[in-house]
């Protein structure tokens, strides 16, 4: 059993693994189901690994990347997004975002772990990863992605440990490094696709840029969703500052959905004029992926969440929960479609040969779905465990309202009183109202 000094444990909000077993029956049932699902999925994954992927996975020579890569991309996009959104507050100092930092960084970590666990089952020789260090190819985007995500994982872990230890100066520094590495790693992931000159749909600078913006959207959606779920698990986590933070994240998410819509619209319009791209596009708009595209990506991922979030006004937790959940589901479709779309046009399609006249097809196999489900269940399990064992990532009183500060009833931010100042006076000072002059002075000013 891990023993943590009492003071440290208190600071972390950790009160022993026994917290696992306190909650009600329903909660325990969820835990058991998730644990069973993880074990089952990994057993299936290991079976695939042992008996070779060729017969068990749906991927082929022409479509070598399937739903596993989609799942990996989904997880690491969300992780980077969570890191970026959390950094707005606790790294770059925009105060309303501060209360979400602890949970967001924890989520970023577990999403990254979930993503790597999926990727592990995609690599044919995971042990050969040692060559990343022994024989690096500096021209390879894949190599840079590996390095940068490694650094990102380290920085994120350090950031989280310092957040737990309430060393905000150091966590800020580590957080800054995490954002730098995260954004670099993530746009590099986009560049893996964007720099494949033989694949018309992916090729170009669009995806490395789009990935970062779409990550912020995913991060926002994930924070809204998971905070709402956490507030159902433990209603006490919501307080004035948290509500204000949710409002701020909601606004940011609305903005980012709009930005991603903008990206999507132009990508579609530009696709109409390039013959190869149009081929892929027609698969989305009217072809076999039309349901994925219109219902999954556009409706679930963008339009409905936008409407719901606007209607929630950043205060209706139920609407935000639904919107966040829809976004996560929709974003998964976006990643899936993105990965598959780049491959369904055969490389020799333009040659006009009989063999590659029609587009290729891909259907995820049971083993592939199980591995992705395993990774996502792992994320869910770790999230719920974190909520329980780490006391709902609650901030301690001095973190919510530091000594000498108070929550402004007007704007909701923390203001500090100067010496001998009343709350009202400091309020006026903060918001630039002129201090109420004494009656005599006022009269004198009027006479002049």
């Amino acid at each position: 059993m891990i023993t943590i000094p009492k003071e440290t444990a208190e600071r972390w909000g950790y009160s022993g693994f026994s917290d696992f077993f306190i909650p009600g029956k329903a909660f325990r049932a969820v835990f058991v189901v998730l644990a069973a699902a993880i074990l089952f999925c990994y057993a299936v994954g290991l079976h695939g690994m042992a008996s070779g992927y060729r017969n068990l996975y749906g991927v082929t020579r022409e479509i070598p990347w399937g739903v596993l890569i989609s799942g990996y991309v989904f997880c690491v996009v969300t992780s980077t997004g969570l890191c970026i959104v959390s950094s707005v507050g606790h790294v770059f100092g925009h105060e309303p975002f501060m209360p979400i930092a602890k949970r967001a960084v924890f989520l970023a970590l577990i999403f990254l772990v979930g993503g790597f666990s999926i990727l592990l089952f995609d690599l044919e020789n995971p042990l050969h990863m040692i060559w990343f260090m022994l024989s690096p190819n500096l021209r390879s985007n894949m190599w840079w992605m590996g390095l940068l995500y490694g650094l990102y994982l380290c920085a994120l872990s350090v950031e989280y440990l310092f957040l737990l230890a309430q060393n905000h100066r150091m966590s800020r520094l580590a957080g800054f490094m995490a954002v730098l590495c995260g954004v670099a790693a993530h746009s590099n992931l986009g560049a893996i696709f964007g720099m494949l000159s033989g694949r018309d749909y992916w090729y170009g600078p669009y995806f490395p840029i789009y990935f970062v913006f779409s990550a912020i959207m995913s991060g926002g959606g994930a924070i809204l969703f998971f905070t709402c779920v956490a507030s159902r698990v433990e209603p006490e986590i919501m307080n004035e500052r948290m509500e204000r933070a949710m409002k701020a994240v909601c606004k940011l998410t609305i903005t980012m959905i709009s930005v991603v819509m903008f990206f999507t619209i132009w990508e579609t319009i530009c696709g109409f004029v390039s013959p190869e791209k149009y081929l892929t596009l027609s698969v989305f708009l009217t072809g076999p992926y039309a349901y994925n595209y219109w219902i999954g990506e556009i409706l679930c991922g963008l339009v409905l969440p936008l409407v719901l979030l606007v209607r929630s006004k950043g205060t209706d937790l139920r609407l935000m929960l639904i919107a966040g959940g829809m976004m996560l589901a929709g974003i998964f479709f976006m990643r899936y479609d993105f990965v598959i779309a780049g491959q369904i046009v055969p490389v020799f399609h333009s040659l006009g040969v009989e063999e590659y006249r029609s587009l290729l097809t891909y259907r995820p196999s049971f083993h592939e779905i199980a591995v992705v489900a395993g990774g996502l269940c792992l994320v869910a399990f770790l999230f719920l465990s974190g909520e329980r064992v780490l006391g709902g990532h609650r901030l301690q009183k001095h973190e919510i309202v530091p000594p000498g500060g108070f929550i402004c009833p007007g704007c909701g931010a923390i203001h500090y009183r100067q010496e001998g100042e009343s709350e009202e006076q400091s309020l006026r000072r903060y918001h630039g109202f002129r201090a109420a002059a004494p009656p005599n002075a006022e009269r004198e000013t009027a006479r002049r």
Partner: protein, 275 residues
């Protein structure tokens, strides 16, 4: 024996293992231009490399950095889809039935007068700028600095399959037995390194649709086939900027080169060109 096809053989093409002062200088030049020291930083100046990077019919025949610089010419009209090339490849290189290193594609032009069907053999293009080598994170696939063949080091292959996506010619597949990605290497390990002069597919082709040789040697038949203006020579997917070493051309009975199987130079194996 066809004298034109035979000219590639000689002491000159056997000397590939020696490094001449000229090659050393060329190598140094390449190194200097890569590090950006030559010509005031070629690496930093995009404009100066545009012409080199962009493949046009003129530029893909300009320079041959390797010695020997192995290349193949595929005379499209001659292929009869007998698949002997694919069979020979399978046997020589132990290619499993779920994969292939080379295959023959069929193109039907239904509105053509007369012959409507033609066959296009495809294989790894051994590009001068191979996207697969850039994509591989661990250098498991690399361009041999001596002969320019794109080869695999199965020991290093992580199995991420990025190279399979990067290849614009679908030339790679995952080989379960080797537990690595596998591809055509112009029969380097099975034939060329053992002193033979032709790949298994070129030696097996009964019509001479596949002609293999050293394009850096002006006496070689491949050089002659590419460096002429009577017949159009092209490469597949030039827009990808890979600068392939597999060239395509049409061939008919009016072709200046004999329409028959390429003979192993030096009178060796499968001298089917004898008549």
């Amino acid at each position: 024996m066809n004298p034109q096809l035979d000219q590639g053989a000689g002491p000159r093409s056997d000397r590939w293992s020696e490094v001449t002062p000229l090659e050393r200088r060329t190598f140094l030049k390449i190194g200097l231009s890569i590090t950006g020291l030559l010509g005031g930083g070629t690496l930093l100046s995009v404009a100066s490399i545009v012409n080199k990077a962009f493949t046009t019919p003129r530029t893909f025949t300009e320079t041959y950095p390797y010695k020997p610089h192995y290349a193949m010419v595929i005379r499209e009209g001659l292929c009869i889809d007998c698949e002997l090339c694919a069979k020979a490849c399978r046997e020589t290189n132990h290619v499993p039935d779920y994969g292939y290193r080379t295959r023959v594609l069929t193109k039907i032009t239904s509105d053509a007068i007369g012959r409507q069907r033609e066959f296009i053999p495809i294989l790894c293009n051994q590009c001068n700028d191979p996207p697969c080598c850039r994509a591989c994170p661990v250098g498991a696939t690399y361009k041999d600095p001596r002969d320019g063949i794109v080869r695999m080091n199965a020991e290093k292959c992580v199995g991420c399959k990025t190279c399979m996506l990067a290849c614009p010619y679908d030339a790679r597949y995952f080989n379960d037995q080797k537990h690595a990605v596998d591809k055509c290497n112009f029969c380097w390990d099975t034939r060329l390194s053992k002193g033979q002069k032709l790949t298994a597919c070129a030696a097996a082709c009964p019509t001479g649709a596949r002609i293999f040789g050293d394009i850096s040697d002006p006496d070689n038949v491949v050089y002659k086939m590419v460096h002429q203006i009577e017949k159009v020579v092209w490469v597949l997917r030039p827009e990808c900027g890979t600068r392939p070493n597999v060239f395509y051309m049409k061939a008919s009975h009016a072709s200046p080169w004999r329409l028959q199987r390429q003979a192993e130079p030096g009178g060796g194996v499968r001298a089917a060109g004898k008549q």
